[in-house]
Every structure is written in C-alpha cells, then in structure tokens.
Amino acid sequence: MKIAISGWTRDRNTEANVKRLLGNYLERVGGDYSDMRFERMERTRVEYRGRELLESGSSVTQGFVLRILEKGGFASACFNDGSELDAAIRKAKECAQSMGSGGEMNTRLLVPPPVEDEIEPTIKGDPRAVSLEEKMALLSSYNRLVMASRDMITTLAVYEEVTRERHFINSAGTYVAEPLVTASISIRMIAAGNGVLQNGRAVVGGSDGFERLLGREDVFLRKAEIVSRLLQARPVEAGTYNVVLNPEMTGVFIHEAFGHFSEADLIEHNPSLREKMNMDRRLGCELLTVCDDPTMPAQIGHYSYDDEGVAGRRVVLMQKGILRGRLHSMRTARSYGESLNGHAIAEDFRYPPIVRMGCIYVTPGDNEPSELLDGAGDGLYVLDAKGGQTSGENFTFGAQYGYLIRNGKSGAMVRDINLMGNLFETLFAVKGVGRDTAISEMGGCGKGQMNIRSAMGGPHILIKAVRVGGC
C-alpha cells in the first residue's frame, strides 16, 4: 500500500498509479466529505557562507494530508506513509466527532463541481534537469562577486529549488495533479566598517525555470554596493514622512496593510474586524486598485490549482479604493456566501491548507516615479523590503535602505527604516500611483505556515504622512 519513493520519475504510469492509489485510500475514509493530498517534495539546496561551501545536495520527503467533514466537525490528519492510513482515518474521524459533537463545530463547505486535470508547468530550462555542479557554479560565481565587493565580510548565499509534486483527490470526484517548481538564488550580505555592521539581501527567482537565474550579476553587485554605502549612511530620524515606495516595498506594503485582511479566514471568527471589512466599503483612496492573481505566469507564486483542488483565479480585491473581493477556501467561501477563487494553500504535506495570498499587487496608475518624488516634496524614498508584519489594523514593514527627498529630489542615503501604519488610515493616504510595475522575485509569508511562494508587487507609490521609526 505504499507509494514508493525511490527512482521516482513523473510519467503517465506514475500518475495513473498515484490516482488509483489515492482513489482506493479515499474510498475507505467515508464522512460527509473527504479529500486527500499526496505530495512528494524534492529540495535541492546549495549554500555558501562567505567563501566556504556549507551544503550541497538534494533530498526527498513525502506525505499525505487527509481531511474529513462529518456532521459539522471538520478535521485533518497529516502523515508520511500510506501504511499509516488506517490510523490517520481513525484519528481524523475522532477529531471531527470531538469538534462536531463536543465542540459544537458546524462547518459547511462550498465544494466545486468535479474536475480532472493534470498540469505541466511552463518552464524555461527545467531546473530538475540541470546538474548540481552547474547550480553550484552559478551560485559560486555570484557569491564570489559579492565577497569581492568593498567592505564585505561575509555572505549567506543559497540556491534553493523546491518541487512539490501535488496530487489531490476528493469525494466529490475531483482529481488534480500539478507540480510546483520553484528555483531561486538569494544572497544575504554583511559589510563592516565605520564601527557598524550593515546587511542586505538580493534575490532572483521564480516558478518559470532555471534560465531566469542566469546572467543576473547586476542584481547582486548592485545590492553589494548599496550595503557598503550603508556603512556611511545615517540612521533615519524617527518621525512622520511623505514616503515614496519602490515596487518591492509597494508589494510588502499592500501584502501587510491590506492583503492579510483579504484572507477570509483571518477575520472569519473576528466579528468586529469582519464588520469593518464588509464588501463595497471604501477602504482606500480612488487611486488604489489591488488584485491577487496566482495564475499570473512566471512569478514565484504561480499555480493553477490550490491545495483544495480549486482552480486559482484573479480576484479584484479593491477597486478604486472600494472593497470588491476576498480570498477564499471552500470553508470560508461557504461561510461568507461568496465565490470560490482557489486560495487555500499549504506550506507542504505537513499541513492542511489555509487561505493565502497567491500574488498580490497594486495595479499601475498614471504617474512617472519622478512625479511621485516631486509630490513628496520633502520626505523619504524607501527601497527593497526587509520584512513586515500585521496585527489587525496596524502593520509594520521594513526597508533595506532609503534616500531623503528634498524638494522632490532624491538625496542622501539613510538606513534603519521601518514604517508603521493603520489599515483604515494609510490606504487613504496614498496620493500617487506610478505607471511602472514589478513583481518581486522573492516570495514569502509566515502566516502560521511559511509560504515561500507568496508573491507581491506593484508600481512606485506615494503615501503621505507615514510614521517612520529610526534607530
């Protein structure tokens, strides 16, 4: 009853075997609704710290996620091997019954019509076909460039390639198989001088293959130069500033400031926030239109089906400042009485899916970036994300570096920039949206589970009166 993991090659026979096995497994589950996801995950990682190679190789893991809905109780069981199926069914049923009868859980699901589909990813240069030696050579060449840069003392340079071979089946008759292939190169760099340490990170990556990673020396050299210049930069003074965000910062801003509240599960059980997020409510200025589209090709978050076997689709979340859409799982769509849009994603086979952003972005506006700097007058131009977080209406997001703006012109470099805002105020303070746009090559979101494929982006934007913490 096992799915063998040695010598796996993805072909028609394998697909048919997995589909048949999962079908047999699911027949034993019962319940009002059940589904099962099987994943085989292959991860290749090469890592240099400074000039030294620390890790190089590939490994394979696998697992199942079983979900059962029974009399209102909805439970999941995650396990590694098919031989554990009976125990997992027993435990998942126990959990569902405990929550249904003892906890008075009353879950209902919006189950879509059955679909059978097997997706092949669109890839330019399949990274799985590239030798480990070539991957090491590429990473090493970028790392050497950075280490040779002025003031650089160390790096953490990582090539990471993750393939999630996903197979999903449910009791309504759906079977979907879709591999998700992600490849990226990330270099964290630390420079020392002037009595301080400064750091930064440059990333190239996506879901469209190995070719994207080639010939990207400029990305890493540019960031190494910036990190070196940060040693001479002054910390920004804490205060309130008009800020211009570059596309990467716009992505993090919209992800933290608004995106999480578009995830229906985050506010599903928070009545006060749910009321504030009623559809058609004005939440931002007229300039602001926000979408999430996991089907957008090439970007790191691309997928066709989510981890509930629901087709992903583009959702207009905010149109000219008005709340128009929300991201859903089968459970939240039913709870809100809204349409499915395929945004239930799990980190991997260790977790059941939760509602996640796929690729959230602000749509381009009419301004040239230089016009936004003009519009800021005196303020800050902040660039390249350094993490963000939200706690309901408040959010923070950090920048790797910035420049003071004086009379509409970008001036001295500043560091230690963290911005804070409030969902119900800051989106009204957006005063200009650039005509340029870019989706970040670095995904990532740590809502409960890590999602390396959560993508974000947009154009330059101007926001008035943002609180900035110094150091």
């Binding site: 063998a4 993991i5 040695s6 090469v46 710290r49 030294e52 190679l53 620390l54 890790e55 190089s56 190789g57 490994s59 893991t61 439970a75 069981a77 995650c78 396990f79 091997d81 125990a87 997992a88 435990k91 998942a92 959990c95 929550m99 003892g102 906890g103 859980m105 480990l132 003392i153 630390i190 020392a192 340490l197 750091n199 804490a238 059980h269 928070n270 009545p271 006060s272 991997d348 260790r350 059941p352 993490g387 963000g388 977080q389 706690s391 309901g392 408040n394 959010f395 997001f397 950090g398 560091r415 230690d416 963290n418 409030n422 740590g446 589970q449 890590m450 913490g469 110094g470 150091c471």
Partner: protein, 433 residues
C-alpha cells in the same frame, strides 16, 4: 537506523543518523467557538557522512529507502564540502523528566472542555468587551541519534501546551499568556483573571507620544532583544567576523542586574533536552552574568572551526520553522532563561511615572539584526501614567539599538513567564522611549 549507518559506513569514514518523530493534535477556538483541529504524525531521518576532510548530508521522511538516503548523501559528499568537525563519542545516558505517560490518555474532548472553561471564565471577566481565542496542542516526540563513533542517544518527550489570548476590538492586537507541561494541567484561574484585568485596563486607545519614558518589556516582546543577542553570541557569527560581541568576553555589556542563560536541562519542562540535535550533551550556558558577557554558544561545526569545546547548542531549527530534518544543525538558543529580579510586575508598574508596558511587537525580524538595531511597532503598548495602566497607544514605534538599552535596565520582575524561546520576566528599562 542501524541499516542506514551500516550502509553509510560503506561509502564514508564516519556517519551520523538522526531520527525524529512527532505526534501532535492541535485544537483552535476563535471567538470562543471551535475553529480547527489537526492531527499530525511526522517522522524524518537525516544522514550526515564524512570521508577524509569532506562531508555530505541528506534527509527523507522515513526509514524505508536507506539506499536512496545514502545515495543522495554520497552525491552531496562529492560536492566537496569541507568537514571541520568529528561526530561525538558515546556518553552515558541521562534521565530528564520530559515524558509523562498520562499523555497517552488525554482526549480531544478533555482539551475541548478545558478550552471551553477558559473561554467561559474570560467571557465573565470581559463582559463582551473583547474576544477570546485559545490554541491548545498535545502530543509526544522522540529523538534518536546514532553515529559511527559509538554514540547512541534517545529521548522521549510529551507535551501539552495551551495559550489563551484576548483580542482588542477591531484588531488582532492581543494579550496572550501560555502554559506548557509534560501532561495535561488545568490552567490557573488567577492567571486568567489577571489577563482579563490587564485587557480591560488597556481598552481605551490613547493618542499620546512617548518622550523620555520608561518601557517595561514583556516576555512576549523580549524576542527583539533575544534574536539580536543570539545572532551576536553565536560562535558561527564570531567565525564569520559578523558578531558585535567579538572581543567582548568578560566585558560588561548590560546592566549588572541582567543575567541570561541557556539551560536545556530543567526537569518537567517539555522542551528540555539532555543532548542536542548532534548528540552533544547539553549543559547550562551562561550568556550574560550580572551584565558581563560570558561566552559564545556553538554547534559542532562552529566550535571546531574556532577550536573550542562545543557547548551543545546544535539544533535543527530556523527562525521561520521548516521541516527539522531538512535543516542542518546550527548554533541556537532554544532554552533561554533570564534571571528573575526582585519586584512584582505590579510594583514595576506602580513605580512608573510615565511609561509603556510593551506586551508585543510587530517587525522584530526587520531591521539590522547583526548590528543590534531594531525598530518595531508596539502591539500593544499599554500606557502607564502615575503607576497605573490608562489605556493603549495606537500606531506607536519603539526603536534603538539593544546594547545601550541593555545597560539601561532598572528592574527585573521576580517571576518568569513562558515565551517561545524560554522563560522570561518583565524587564524595565529607563528613559528609552
């Protein structure tokens, strides 16, 4: 595991097999209603091999494909990764009280009923002014390491964790407390009542701007300091030349009332371990004693590079989680404890003329961690005036560098509270806001 080790011996001079198995059930209630239940049973195996001065590694989910595991480690070995460390020798087994057989008898209903009791009690305290969420999990874990140097160590752990949380209106800003043990425990009513009272006192949102105020940093906000200290006190950072504490062993870096240690050997603590993820015996490691920096903590690799004795801090962990077997061991402070002081939290608040009780932060991971800089949003920051909490601050930041601030610690609470990386008291810092 023996089969894997034996096969690995065929291609390498020495090898280590790490096995980890965790069974866990997690139950979540939001707004006092059931929200999710998930059971998981996860296993993983990691192999490290060494041949001459090179090393390689691989991992997988189970022990059913030893040839695949060893074959992938061999490919990794061929990459030419220089090996600095050797696998530890055998050492006698030790007993830590980390497993309670009663864990096998916990039922989901028992936990659900305890959550319902907590929700009902808090609802009585809050009178409709806040919402109660509770997350509970229970289960057991097993760690087993063998190597070709003759080491064989294993440990069984049982755990029950529960964390009640009260959310402020229109927000996910919250006050949260937690309790963990090796088996089921009834959550103390007094702590829930105190949580409810703290929440009610923080309900009004105030528009005041801090200036020259004191800060009382809660255990849940201490991660801002801990992550930066951890980065600096790691032997790996020292080796890289990226530690702010380089050359500072024996020097004063904090107020003399501040002591921080890492101790993985506390009986009854489900996190306790008598060996780390490399099989090295754990021991109490003072990081800062009475304000003096005492030394770097290490895993096998960083200790070997620096020609130091490993301190038993090689764990397969990372800031953002991940499958433990997929992470190579790195120096990590996983069992921290700040030495308690002499005042109660009530006394610390009562002696504050103007200040903020920082119960949580946003963006602890942002900023220049190697340099010790931070700039975080308070989430929430409870405003104290003339010895009483008056409400909470909206949209307020706390920023600076941890090293000057560690020297401004004026008092430390006499009790310790659980947080993700250990046990911490409330810590008061003068004139920092």
């Amino acid at each position: 595991m023996e089969k894997v080790l034996s096969m690995a011996r065929g291609i390498a001079d020495s090898a280590e097999v790490y096995y980890r198995e965790i069974q866990e059930t997690e139950i979540v209630f939001e707004d006092s209603s059931p929200s999710s239940i998930n059971h998981s049973r996860r296993a993983g195996v990691a192999l490290r091999i060494r041949k001459a001065d090179k090393t390689g590694s691989s991992y997988c989910s189970g022990l059913d494909d030893p040839a695949g595991l060893v074959g992938r480690a061999a490919v990794s070995l061929d990459a030419g990764i220089k090996a600095f460390f050797t696998f530890p020798q055998a050492h006698p087994a030790e007993e830590l009280e980390t497993f309670d057989p009663e864990i096998e008898h916990i039922s989901d209903l028992q936990v659900i009923n305890e959550i319902k009791r907590i929700c009902a009690l808090l609802a009585g305290e809050l009178k409709g002014k806040g919402q109660c969420n509770v997350t509970a999990s229970y289960g057991e874990a097993f760690f087993h390491i063998i190597n070709t140097a003759g080491l064989e160590v294993s440990q069984k752990i049982s755990f029950y964790r529960i964390s009640p949380q009260i959310l402020f209106p229109n927000s996910q800003e919250s006050l949260r407390i937690r309790k963990s043990a090796t088996g089921f425990r009834v959550f103390p009513e007094s702590r829930l009542i105190n949580l409810g009272r703290a929440f009610l006192s923080g309900l009004p949102v105030l528009d005041v701007t801090p200036k020259g105020w004191d800060a009382i940093i809660a255990p849940s906000a201490f991660q801002v300091f801990l992550w930066r200290l951890e980065a600096a006190a790691s032997a790996a950072s020292l080796y890289d030349g990226a530690s702010r504490l380089r050359g500072k062993v024996g020097q004063k870096i904090a107020s003399n009332i501040f002591s921080l240690e890492d101790d993985a050997r506390i009986n009854g603590n489900p996190q306790s371990r008598w060996f780390d993820d490399e099989g090295v015996r754990t021991r109490r490691h003072p990081v800062i004693e009475n304000g003096i920096f005492r030394g770097f903590f290490s895993d096998l690799d960083s200790a070997s590079r620096l020609k130091l004795e490993p301190t038993g801090h090689g764990y397969r962990t990372a800031m953002w989680g991940g499958d433990a077997v997929s992470l190579k061991p790195s120096p990590s402070l996983s069992h921290c404890r700040v030495k308690p002081g002499s005042e109660s939290l009530d006394e610390m608040i009562a002696s504050t003329r103007r200040g903020v009780l920082i119960e949580g932060v946003l963006g602890a991971h942002s900023g220049n961690i190697p340099n010790g800089d931070f700039s975080v949003g308070m989430s929430p920051g409870l405003y104290i005036e003339n010895g009483k909490i008056r409400g909470r601050l909206g949209n307020t930041m706390f920023s600076g560098n941890i090293y000057p601030i560690l020297n401004k610690i004026t008092s430390i609470e006499s009790s310790l509270h659980e947080s993700e990386q250990g046990l911490f008291p409330y810590i008061k810092v003068g004139d920092v806001l």
